[in-house]
């Protein structure tokens, strides 16, 4: 009975009626709250509806019901990571994605490719959050410095007014000095803003990913590189797919199998460090 509702939900989902599908899965859950696929199906439906808090809840229940070690839970873990990314919780998303990615490799699951992408996405968001904070901080620093320069000007102008009031300088001298003070301040502010601009532009200009971090198959930055017997490193998901199909080394064409691939931990460390500082590289 509850499975009939699920079947109806699946059909509505295929037709693009996500609200209708969600309703069917909800009814199925009411009848049987112990069936994990009802929750995982409602999770992906809610992804389409962009109800991310709902996706998080459903995905977590589905993972629980499947059991932590069951590879059938990998799709739900992927949904969960997506939801956490959308909810701007990159740290948690990264943890979920990395663990699920490792589990998907162990289980030789088809989810590896999606999860591999999600790991990179999470790394990017982690960086973006840090970067936004840095820019904010820099902007605040600039604003503070501008305030200090302007306060200096105000003090100098007040002094000048005092000199005029006490008759120490004449009206003409006062006007000239006042103008000079304002001009000096304007110049100082300009130099200050230019300096800050150069500092942040410098980083944008250096936005180049070194070739040795780029997977020669996907042309994207790697996060889990594997090295072939002939010594070239590739992203795990890409090289695995190629070697499974061709059974040869892509550079030398010497016969090989997936078991001949070795993780390249040194390069992985370099990629990780690079991504921490350059999350933009994910979209490069």
């Amino acid at each position: 009975m509850s499975f009939d509702l699920k079947e109806k939900g699946n059909q509505l989902f295929k037709q693009g009626d996500y609200a209708g599908a969600e309703e069917m899965f909800s009814q199925a859950i009411q009848k049987n709250p112990k069936e994990p696929t009802f929750f995982s199906n409602r999770a992906i439906t809610r992804m389409r509806l962009e109800n991310w808090a709902g996706v998080e809840k459903d995905a977590r229940v589905a993972i629980d019901l499947f059991g932590a070690k069951n590879p059938s839970n990998l799709k739900s873990r992927y949904y969960l990571a997506q939801a956490l990314l959308e909810l701007q919780r990159p740290q948690e998303a990264h943890e979920v994605a990395v663990e699920a990615y490792q589990a998907s490799l162990a289980a030789k699951s088809a989810q590896s490719e999606n999860l591999s992408k999600t790991v990179l996405r999470a790394k990017q968001q982690l960086w973006a959050a840090k970067e936004a904070a840095r820019v904010r901080e820099q902007n605040e620093t600039l604003a503070n410095m501008e305030r200090l320069v302007e306060a200096d000007l105000q003090r100098a102008l007040n002094d000048l007014q005092g000199q005029l009031d006490r008759g120490e300088i004449g009206q003409i001298g006062f006007s000239e000095d006042q103008k000079a003070l304002r001009e000096d301040t304007e110049k100082t502010l300009q130099v200050l803003r230019e300096t800050f601009a150069i500092a942040s532009k410098g980083e944008i200009q250096e936005r180049v990913v070194p070739d040795y971090l780029i997977d020669p198959i996907t042309f994207e930055i790697m996060h889990d590189p594997m090295i072939t017997p002939s010594g070239t490193s590739f992203e795990r998901v890409a090289i695995t797919k190629y070697v499974e199909q061709s059974k040869v080394d892509p550079i030398t064409r010497v016969p090989m199998t997936v078991d001949d691939l070795r993780p390249n931990y040194a390069l992985k460390g370099v990629c990780e460090e690079f991504l921490q500082k350059n999350g933009w590289a994910v979209d490069w």
Partner: protein
């Protein structure tokens, strides 16, 4: 699948720079591109000619090779593009090149590197002839180039 992202990245690189004698003429989508190639030396077989290559990609690119063949534009067109004469190029434009077969392909190859290989395959040739059995092949072959088991019997061409 990697195809879309990988191709858009190749396209960015290609638009920045291509080796001499190779240019991109059509890349409206990520399924079919057309490239023009020209032989750079004085080889009389190909002097003053430009040839048009058609690349067709499926969503398994670059794990699987693109389909690459020459296409002909008539001499009456504004940009005439003949099929170059070569003992490994059939008169319908199908190219017999190990690199383009499923067995000879490597995912580290790119559109640019394929064009360069074909360019040098022409440069190195001095034989003014079509592959043996060209006529029959052209009239009977309905298979896709990738699926044909060419005999790569003379590696020195």
């Amino acid at each position: 699948m990697f195809a879309t992202k990988r191709l858009s990245k190749e396209l960015i690189k290609i638009k920045e720079h291509l080796p001499p004698g190779i240019s991109i003429v059509k890349s409206d989508n990520l399924e079919e591109w057309q490239m023009d190639i020209r032989v750079l030396d004085e080889n009389p077989l190909y002097l003053n000619q430009i040839y048009r290559l058609k690349f067709t990609f499926n969503n398994k690119y670059p794990i699987e090779p693109p389909e690459v063949q020459f296409i002909e534009l008539p001499t009456t067109s504004e940009t005439p593009r003949p099929i170059p004469i070569h003992p490994h190029i059939y008169s319908n434009g199908i190219i017999c090149l190990d690199l383009l077969s499923s067995a000879g392909w490597s995912p580290v190859q790119t559109v640019e590197s394929v064009c360069m290989s074909i360019q040098s395959m022409l440069t190195a040739n001095s034989r003014n002839e079509r592959p043996p059995g060209d006529k029959d092949f052209v009239s009977y072959n309905r298979r896709r180039p990738r699926d044909i088991n060419f005999m790569y019997d003379d590696d020195n061409i």
